[in-house]
Amino acid sequence: MTTWPARTRPTVTLRPYAATTARILRQLRNDHRTVGMILVVPAVLMSLLYFIYAEAPADPRGPALFDRVGISMLGILPFLVMFLVTAIAMQRERSSGTLERLLTTPLSKLDLIGGYGTAFSVAAAGQAVVACLVSFGLLDLQAAGNPGWVVLIAVVDAICGVALGLLASAFARTEFQAVQFMPLVVGPQIFLCGLLVPRDQLPRWLEIISNVLPLSYAVDALEQVSTHAEPTGRMARDLLIVAAFAIVALVLGAATLRRRSA
């Protein structure tokens, strides 16, 4: 260290964000089991679903049960998994002291949240692609529209899960608490997203609640792909709403990071 005092350096721009994204991806890559589970578990669950409905009598009025439930699940599972993984990863950053340390460096809060969002979105995209390949390729899931749209919706939806997980971690003091946020945040969304009961058949007050939950729009978008050969305006609107939820949650997540604490 012969160059004291501090060297003059070029203005740092995207490098902290890129370095943070790379660091989180590297952490993920070093954890082979987690990578394996992120990629494989939703696909395995889709296969399970396939066999559950394999011998169920078909409903002559509408799409086969597996097609209806399966396509919704392609939105629900990545959302759920990515919420959980992200909430715990961020909670670990908070409790290990590395967050406090990072907040004394030039790293901006949006760089950090953006890094998490990007890195886990890469994982989410991988997961969604595998789940869709297995569902459409091996399990013969039927949809009127292009499976490419299903992948896109699943990815955006998973990113929304990442964003909500980051936000939820701000309210958890421990990893145990972070896990508890999964049933609290994701549970009602699964119940109300239209999978169990079509949303227009819900009691009015529940329908109003379901209107402000992102998963409702993801599942609705998937149903649009399931029943329409061409992309619909409603699907595009749903997709934008889910993306907007993700952005708002990311910004709120950044706002919960405080450089100074008691």
Binding site: R26, R101, P106, L107
Partner: protein, 251 residues
């Protein structure tokens, strides 16, 4: 009860690296720092000493700008503590080594380096400086406690900070390593950096140019090791500290 960043301090013409005036920090219902004032001269090693729980970590958090303070002010390198510009110029090593356990030493140091725009050479240099070159490819969770401490230190050294704030950096290290690390601190100070190093072991006071002696959230004295000996008539610094406590601080 108001928690807020320190009030803007009056512009000071002093050349101290750190200047603290009437600093009060309240945590929960009790004050943990009761109106502390002190200065840390540039280009030197200042030891922050006192028993566990006396407020050393809180004071250090005030200096790096992560602590909410109730009143008083803290100026660091001529700027208000916590200023954006300071984040490039301060290196902070928390008491518990804060590195990522699931990536290698090199990747840890390179990451913190990238945040400050460091080059690859800076990274290698920082790892070399803490004697971890042989272990650079090992993951954080494969290191011993002392190696983790040093890896954490390298993550602060990499940016070449003007002020290094080190919270008990030698705790749990074997005596040989401890001496080596203090030698390294001395080299950094000689090159112009300012070091604020906390410890609860008085025998480390010997390595410092100046001492800040704390007890129960108050500053007992700021002086050099020799002045401490002269004032108390004790040769042993541990006993000198005890004498100072019993006779009470002098203004």
């Amino acid at each position: 009860m108001t928690h807020r960043p320190a009030a803007p301090s009056p512009p000071a013409a002093s050349d101290s690296a750190v200047e603290v005036r009437d600093l009060v920090v309240r945590r929960g219902k009790r004050d943990v720092l009761h109106g502390i004032s002190l200065t840390v001269p540039r280009g030197s090693i200042t030891g922050l000493l006192g028993p566990s729980g006396c407020g050393k970590t809180t004071l250090m958090r005030c200096v790096v700008g992560t602590q909410l303070v109730r009143s008083g002010w803290v100026r660091v390198l001529g700027l208000d503590a916590g200023s954006r510009e300071l984040r490039r110029r301060i290196g902070y090593v928390t008491q518990a080594p804060s590195i990522y356990p699931d990536i290698s030493v090199h990747d840890n140091v390179a990451y913190f380096g990238a945040l400050s725009g460091c080059s690859r050479d800076d990274v290698a240099e920082a790892i070399e400086a803490v004697g971890l070159r042989e272990h650079a490819r090992q993951r954080g969770d494969e290191l011993s406690g002392g190696q983790r401490t040093r890896a954490s230190l390298a993550c602060a050294l990499v940016a070449g900070p003007d002020l290094l704030v080190l919270d008990e950096p030698t705790v749990g290290l074997d005596p040989v390593l401890r001496v080596e690390l203090w030698k390294r601190f001395r080299e950094l100070a000689a090159a112009g950096a300012t070091l604020l190093v906390s410890s609860h072991v008085m025998d480390e006071a010997e390595y410092c140019d100046r001492l800040l002696l704390m007890r129960e959230g108050r500053l007992l004295a700021q002086l050099s090791p020799d002045e401490l000996r002269a004032r108390t008539g004790e040769d042993n610094l541990e006993r000198a500290f005890l004498t100072l406590i019993t006779t009470g601080p002098r203004s």
